[in-house]
């Protein structure tokens, strides 16, 4: 693999769901509607946006947990197409789920939960080898061997999230979709889990797609950040670049709305408070999805969807008026 081939590349990914809206009637919900991005090896790409904008769906459909409606996914430069491609891909790419309380079966032991992917992918020869691997994985996430025979429901949220991470590591992945892995945890526990993700990344050279809605957490952990709105990508750039110079009107208001845990900054902070609510993805606006809440919207915004363009090196934005308003 050459230096500048990304580990993972997603091109024009679409994931539509058919929703029954009444007697013999249905409608298409465009959960993800033409999203493109790439992730380099060893990098963390943060993915943010408001509830329902399609973050989890991006993660699931790029892993082929849903069959994408359309679009292409390339891994190490090779397109994932056949069933066999998918099977091989799943050994290298896994997911840590949003809610540590519901994503693990509470009536299963820790060793069963962590061992399951080993069984599915037949990653051991003997029973002893399996046991040893489970204990090794538990060690990586700071669980000790006595925990192995205990049940998931006996653990705190932070510990459960560690179990989920150990399970994701079982296949020796290169790439992990982390779907809000710290959102359900208490603030004092979040830092432990964030550090663990960073340590594991260094140790195994992992690549992350890190989904979260806490923008301070995302900024801390990400190299680059992607911002979504109503199924579409609106901006991608280097983490510091996007925080210091957001170009899309939605990014500007989103980042300015984050409450900063510092009273002096909070008092002087100029927040751009958006009026109106997020439209339903079943009734997405024509043209630019943000135009119903955008202070800069003009006629053109209702007519055509702005192109997702690279405006400076590695800084992509989808807005008709980028150059006029910045």
């Amino acid at each position: 693999m050459s230096e500048n081939t990304p580990l993972l590349e997603v091109k024009d990914l679409k994931q539509y769901f058919t929703i029954n809206t009444g007697l013999l009637q249905s409608k298409q919900l465009k959960a993800v509607d033409g999203v493109s991005f790439s992730i380099n090896k060893g990098e963390t790409l943060g993915l943010v946006g408001e509830s329902g904008c399609g973050k989890t769906t991006v993660g699931r459909s790029l892993l082929n947990l849903y069959k994408p409606t359309s679009g292409q996914i390339f891994y190490e430069g090779k397109e994932i197409k056949t069933r066999n491609d998918i099977k091989e891909f799943r050994k290298k790419a896994t997911m840590v789920f949003q809610d540590p309380y519901s994503s693990l079966n509470p009536r299963m032991t820790v060793s069963y939960i962590i061992g399951e992917p080993l069984d599915v992918h037949k990653l051991y020869k003997t029973k002893e080898e399996r046991e040893a691997r489970i204990l090794e994985l538990m060690g990586y996430v700071g669980l000790n061997s006595e925990h192995a025979s205990r049940y998931a429901h006996e653990f705190s949220g932070g510990q459960r999230q560690r179990i989920g991470i150990a399970r994701a590591l079982a296949v020796n992945p290169d790439f992990i979709v982390c779907d809000e892995p710290v959102s359900a945890l208490d603030v004092s526990i979040q830092a432990q889990v964030i550090n663990m993700f960073e340590e594991l990344q260094e140790k195994f050279g992992l690549t992350y797609l890190f989904i979260a809605h806490d923008l301070l957490v995302v900024r801390h952990i990400s190299d680059r950040i992607a911002i979504m709105y109503l199924g579409k990508m609106v901006e991608i750039a280097d983490a510091e670049e996007i925080y210091n110079h957001p170009l899309h009107p939605y990014s500007k208001s989103l980042l300015s709305a984050v409450p900063i845990p510092d009273p002096k900054i909070a008092r002087t902070n100029k927040r751009i408070v958006l009026s109106g609510d997020i439209p339903s993805p079943l009734n997405a606006p024509s043209g630019c999805p943000f135009r119903t809440r955008c202070a800069y919207a003009v006629e053109r915004c209702a007519e055509t969807m702005p192109e997702f363009k690279e405006v400076s090196t590695d800084h992509f934005v989808a807005c008709h008026r980028t150059s006029e308003i910045n």
């Binding site: 408001e50 509830s51 603030v187 409450p259």
Partner: protein
Amino acid sequence: MARLLEVKDLKTSFFTDVGEVKAVNGISFNLDRGKVLGIVGESGSGKSVTAYSIMQILTGTGKIVSGSIKYDGKELVGAGEKVMKDIRGNNISIIFQDPMTSLNPTYTIGHQLTEAIILHTDRNKKQAWDRAVEMLRLVNVNEPEKRMKQYPYEFSGGMRQRVMIAMALACEPDILIADEPTTALDVTIQAQILELMKSLQEELGMAIIMITHDLGVIAQMCDEVIVMYAGSICEQGTADEIFYNPKHEYTKGLLRSIPSQANAGKKLEPIAGTPIDLLNMPKGCAFAPRCDVAMKICLKENASRMQINDDHQAACWVNVREAISNE
């Protein structure tokens, strides 16, 4: 003039099958007119139980064991349900984290708002309806007349939370208790709601008790901050004192563990160990088992609250040691 709210040595417990859970274990604080008081603390530290105790809406086996809660000089503990009903209707209101559980899905928004107003004021049906429309307009719900006839499921999360605020404000309370009012909401919607609460507070001159685990929300909204750990107040002071001069090891740990400008690009410093189990409370300071600088005395005895300066109190032995060594 009497203080608006004065809480003294309040203790509230749940009497469960496995023992007494001392959810709130002797807390004292005051709230003055027009002020915003923040309560932060770990999950399970007693923030909500403090709020429910003030309102006397504890569920299950929960009971105020001892202590005093005075509203405008009037004792509420033991005052009886009739008095409390009046207080809840006219003086102190609460909004909860999840607006869906506090709105009835089978009635229109208008019906629920007018019922609440009729219950708590002596307005007739027509007047209550007009007042409800006025309240919806106040909380920036567009086309309020039309919205009155809709059901909760037709509202977005942010709109429902605004309806809850409208309902809480309909009786013109002196104190609004907001228990994690924006936790379930998205950042841009949270910003709308916080802005709204702040402007209403200034306009109507009410006091707010803002319960949240989000230090960002505290920094943005509060004059005064209480930090709770395991049912007790470990530290209390002005927002500036708490953020720039923390004097309890839990608060220090909490501030170190959140991502900020200061630790950008560095490892976060988590608080070690696991959260407290109220049924197995350690002797001495409840935070000692997780504290990096715990001394022998911390494991034996609880530190009492010490005045750090005019605007600041904390209960931590480290301050006692410093005070002694400075003498």
